[in-house]
């Protein structure tokens, strides 16, 4: 299990977490889901994650903070931003801060899967299984 790429999913919509967890576990990731940014950051401090998928707008600690922290904590980490509301400025800001991709809700599963795969290959650590 330890060699599975580790994926973190942060979204205040629990359904998103539930569905994506199942999806990416099937893809061969070790998946952990969070509904609050602060909890996610706490976890990032403790464990190493390869990929983070985070929603942007989530109350006090939002996706941008998670992105900032993750990148600062581990520059190699791939952070994929999902947002319910695509604004050019926010997209630009996210990219500037080192986001790997920027996806707008509602997204297609294939779309997300494709991006995660690309992120994974970029890690040169393809998922097993």
């Amino acid at each position: 299990m330890s060699d599975k790429p580790r994926l973190m999913i942060v979204d205040d919509e629990p359904i998103v977490g539930k569905r994506l967890k199942r999806l990416f576990e099937k893809e061969g990731f070790a998946v952990e889901t969070f509904t609050r940014g602060s909890a996610a950051i706490d976890e990032l401090k403790k464990k190493h994650f390869d990929i983070v998928i985070t929603d942007l707008m989530m109350g006090v600690v939002d996706g941008m903070k998670v992105l900032e922290f993750a990148k600062a904590n581990c520059p190699d980490i791939r952070v994929i931003i999902i947002t319910g509301f695509g604004k050019k400025e926010t997209a630009a800001e996210a990219c500037h801060k080192g986001a790997f991709a920027f996806i707008i809700k509602p997204f297609k599963i294939d779309e997300l899967r494709e991006i995660v795969r690309r992120a994974c290959s970029a890690l040169r650590k393809p998922p097993t299984g």
């Binding site: 359904i15 199942r22 939002d62 319910g84 509301f85 809700k105 509602p106 997204f107 599963i109």
Partner: protein, 569 residues
């Protein structure tokens, strides 16, 4: 009465002036009268003096009986006559015609009598001479003839003595003695020629004397009449003057009392007559200035206040027209603002709503796709859960769209009715919830739990709070706390809603401007500056008040108060 103030003032001034003038005129006439009366008294005194002069001369004349004294007497009567004739007919009429007539008649008789008396005096002289002559002849005859013993010279001498006494005293005793002696004498010598002649002369003298005495009595009587009449005239003149004095005194007193009582009354009357319409106008202006624009100045008098009132009313009409058109424009502006605000809010909201709506949509599509992919792997339990998720998320989307429609839409009711302000606050917070979320603003609520009713309109009240909250969100730029406290006051008269932010704050010098229409510090396109202006007018429409306190860098608190709903409303 259609009098101008100008006329009223003239009347007000001229009436006292007229009274004074009349008083002055009367006083003048009175002084003239006094002078005239005084003249009468003087004339009467003068007459009296002249009469006394006449009487003095009369006495002298009667005593001396000479031509010289007659002339004096005549001069005196002439002077009196002249004085009488010099008196003007008016004075005569004033003093009494009868008295003067009597005076004139008496004076005429008097001077005639004096003249007749002079003639009789001369006659008397002749008669005396005759008696003396006959007496001497008788004496000589008695001495020479000596024909009778009884007719002695002594007897004649005695007779002559009696005769002399009589001439001297002319009283009854001497007359009786002489008469007795004469009777004796005639008995002694009845046929003696000298005797007869002497007796005849004496008898003649006696008759002259008698006549003169009668005339003298008459003269004195008339003299007395003259004196009495002039006395009467003088006295009555003096009495008249006195009566006149006291009557004028009385009149003056009455005039004074009248002036003292009616003068102030008249002045007061005139003053109030002038002031009343002005006061009425002032009253109306005050009432109008207190806000009742529908009042109009009463148009009653046709004086200057009439023109004033008419122009004032016209001005008010203009003002009211301007005001109502202004109000209309403001109403239009307000509508426009609401529209703009709605659009702006919509724009702002769209971002929120998009996010909000995208979430359930995303959830649905995610779930649906998962089901499609893993249909065969999913247990019945799992399938049910997925379907349930889809249903609940569709429900959620439906709610969001309902809310959106609600906000954008057709809440047209403007009726003022019993409204739960706690519910209004909840709805308002709902409306900005997305913006709060997007702007990372933490909401702190300390809101009364049970309904609190005021008289108002739900959507207007929501507009009030949304405006304030949107401003607060803008002021906090990215993060901060929005605190909302609401609850009734201790006395149960008001509900107070406090909305505080931890935003940039408002500098003291700008505080007074924020409720002005079009005052905004937001960059072009950022705000219209109508938000708080509309809020203010809406609060006032709800009989409430709105206050703001702020500290630059710390935050701003808006406090809105509304009177609680009363059943009697």
């Amino acid at each position: 009465m259609n009098l101008k103030i100008w006329h009223k003032m003239i009347i007000g001034i001229s009436i006292p002036a007229l009274i004074t003038l009349i008083g002055g005129f009367f006083t003048y006439a009175y002084i003239n009268d006094v002078k005239l009366r005084h003249g009468f008294v003087e004339i009467a005194d003068d007459l009296r003096e002249r009469v006394l002069e006449v009487r003095r001369n009369e006495k002298n004349f009667l005593l001396h009986k000479t031509d010289e004294y007659y002339r004096y007497s005549k001069d005196a009567t002439d002077t009196l006559n002249k004085s009488l004739n010099n008196i003007s007919p008016e004075i005569v009429a004033q003093a009494g015609n009868d008295e003067f007539l009597l005076l004139r008649d008496s004076l005429r008789t008097y001077s005639d009598l004096i003249h007749a008396l002079l003639k009789n005096y001369r006659q008397e002289d002749l008669s005396v001479e005759k008696v003396r002559e006959e007496g001497r002849k008788l004496e000589a005859f008695v001495k020479a003839e000596n024909h009778d013993r009884e007719l002695s010279p002594n007897f004649v001498l005695d007779l002559r003595r009696l005769e002399k006494n009589y001439m001297l005293f002319r009283d009854k005793t001497s007359f009786d003695r002489l008469n007795d002696a004469l009777a004796g004498f005639n008995n002694l010598a009845p046929f003696c020629l000298y005797c007869v002649q002497y007796t005849t002369a004496i008898n003649n003298l006696i008759s002259v004397y008698n006549k003169i005495t009668g005339m003298e009595n008459d003269l004195q009587g008339i003299g007395n009449t003259l004196e009495e009449t002039t006395d009467r005239i003088a006295r009555s003149e003096r009495q008249k003057v006195n009566a006149f004095f006291s009557s004028t005194q009385r009149l003056l007193l009455i005039a004074l009392i009248l002036l003292c009582t009616f003068g102030p009354l008249l002045v007061y009357q005139t003053a109030s007559y002038i002031v009343t319409p002005i006061k009425r106008l002032a009253d109306i202006t005050r009432k109008i200035s207190q806000g009742d624009m529908t009042l109009r100045a009463p148009i009653k008098e046709h004086d200057e206040t009439y023109t004033l009132a008419v122009s004032f009313n016209r001005m008010l009409d203009h003002l009211q027209l301007t005001r109502s058109s202004l109000e209309k424009s403001l109403e239009l502006l307000h509508e426009k603002h609401v529209e703009v605000e709605k659009r702006a809010s919509l724009g702002f909201l769209v971002s929120g709503v998009a996010h909000e709506l995208n979430n359930p949509l995303n959830n649905i599509s995610l779930t649906a796709e998962t089901m499609k992919e893993d249909l065969n792997e999913l247990s019945a339990e799992e399938l049910k859960e997925h379907i349930q998720d889809i249903i609940s998320q569709s429900e959620r989307a439906k709610h969001i769209i309902e809310d959106l429609l609600d906000f954008a839409g057709a809440r047209k009711s403007t009726a003022m009715e019993k409204t739960d302000i706690i519910n209004v606050l909840a709805e308002s917070i709902n409306l900005v919830a997305n913006q709060l979320k997007v702007s990372h603003i933490h909401l702190k609520k300390d809101i009364h739990k049970t309904p609190v009713f005021i008289r108002g309109n739900q959507s207007k009240l929501e507009e009030i709070f949304v405006n304030i909250m949107v401003n607060a969100i803008h002021a906090m730029k990215g993060s901060g706390d929005l605190s909302i406290c609401a609850g009734p006051d201790g006395q149960g008269k008001f509900i107070t809603v406090e909305i505080s932010d931890t935003g940039c704050g408002i500098p003291g010098k700008d505080l007074k401007n924020i409720f002005e229409p079009f005052y905004t510090t937001k960059q072009s396109g950022g705000g219209t500056g109508l938000g708080l202006a509309v809020t203010h007018s809406l609060v006032e429409k709800h009989s409430g008040d709105i206050n703001v306190r702020s500290k630059v860098g710390e935050g701003t608190t808006f406090t809105v108060r509304f009177p609680l709903y009363e059943e009697t409303d």
